[in-house]
Every structure is written in structure tokens, then in C-alpha cells.
Symmetry: none
Subunit: 107 residues, 2 copies
Amino acid sequence: MDAALKALAEPRRREILRLVWSAELPATAIADHFSEVTRSAVSQHLGVLKAAGLVSERRDGTRRLYRADRSEMRQLRRFLDDYWTSGLERLRDAAEAAQREKDAADG
Amino acid sequence: MDAALKALAEPRRREILRLVWSAELPATAIADHFSEVTRSAVSQHLGVLKAAGLVSERRDGTRRLYRADRSEMRQLRRFLDDYWTSGLERLRDAAEAAQREKDAADG
DNA sequence: GCACAAGTTCAGTTGACACTTACGCAAGCC
DNA sequence: GGCTTGCGTAAGTGTCAACTGAACTTGTGC
């Protein structure tokens, strides 16, 4: 999840992900979309996205076809929804914080 | 939005955000939660979160109280939902999905 | 006014990362 | 077997970001 979030922090990778969101594309077609960056850079971005599970790769002859893994995106969304308010753990933190506040005020 | 995503890419900042999600806390209380990092580092993280609009600051005497700005988080979530499939493309995807549903049902 | 407490900010260091160029490697095609 | 196409990997570089320690700011209580 950490990897997915870090991968999405890079604008170029978000753009790539959008390109392969609804269409499976070979690496070259993706790279052609970015005139200001080399093919190599795009390939490395694809590697990061793949490592984060946000993209899947399929080989076809010499080509490699990429497409977005939407289920991973769903998981990410869900993580973002849940992380901040995760039940007992959050309550515990709040209680601890309140106690420190009180201690500081008293002491 | 780019700033918010980048801010969330850092685990420590996610933790901070969770701390101030449901409780307003002074900077020191937040810093006390991170034993492996100095107060200064936490202050800088708070600056990033604030710049990204994910956190709001209120002054009370010498203290500064922080709390999460949930509306910004909602916007982020919405952005994540919409960015990949925007406008016509999203409609097309929906149509395709409906067709696949139909094909699956028929087949 | 002085001391202290709460926090930020400045200067400098270190590590991560996006990038480029060059090279390597596999799969068709002649 | 050579040639070309499609693409990843290696090595090196510049930039940025997270961190530390020291200095600074601002408010409070005496």
C-alpha cells in the first residue's frame, strides 16, 4: 500500500496509469505519449507501477503489453477510507493524547 | 491535489494525519508520538500537510493546535475516483462494462 | 525586564529518485 | 547466421526531500 501511494505521488506515473486504464498498450505506445522524456524513463516508471501492483504486464512476442490493475486501485481507495479511522487503534491514540494533554496541564 | 498526494506518500505524515483526524492536538503532543524523530522534523511535516491543505492550524497562546481537514481528504478521494476515467472515456467504459455484463448473462 | 515554554526556521548533510546514455537481450524476418 | 524491432537494465548525474542541531520568534508568568 505504501508502494502504491508512493507510485501515485509522481505525476508522470499517474498519467501512465490513466493511459492504460481502459486500454492495454505496449511500452512503446506509452513512451510515445511523453515527448519530454526518454523511453528508458518510461520503462522505469512502468517498473515502479508494476512493483506497486498498479499495473500488470503481458508478453506478446517482443512486445510487452501493460494495463491498469483496477482491483489494486480499489484496495487503495479502501485503505484511504479506513486508515484514518481504524477502530480501536484510533481510540487508543486519542485517549493517550488526551492523557498527555492532561498530564502536561497538571504537571 | 498533487501536493496532497505527495504529502500522503510519506508514512510519517500519514501517521500524523491519523493522530489529528479526530482530535485537535498541539505540535508537541504530535511530536511526542515519534520517538525516532526530532520535534523539528515533525514541525516540517506539519508544514507540508498544511501547505497541502490536509491539516489546519489554530493558535492558542504559544501553542499551535492542528487538526485534519477532512474536506480536503474527501476531495482527494473524489479525485482518485475520477482522474483515471474522466468524461467521455468514463462513459465509454461504463457502456463497455454494461455490454460485458450483458454478454456474460447471455453467454 | 527576564526566564521559560512552545514552535518554527535556517544551514548543512545524506539518501532517495527521476533522468540520460549506453548496453544487453529476446523474438521475429530475410 | 545477421538485422531489426521492442524493451529492460546498468551506470552515472543532478535535484529534491527528510532529517539534525542550533538559532530565532512569540507568548506567558513572575
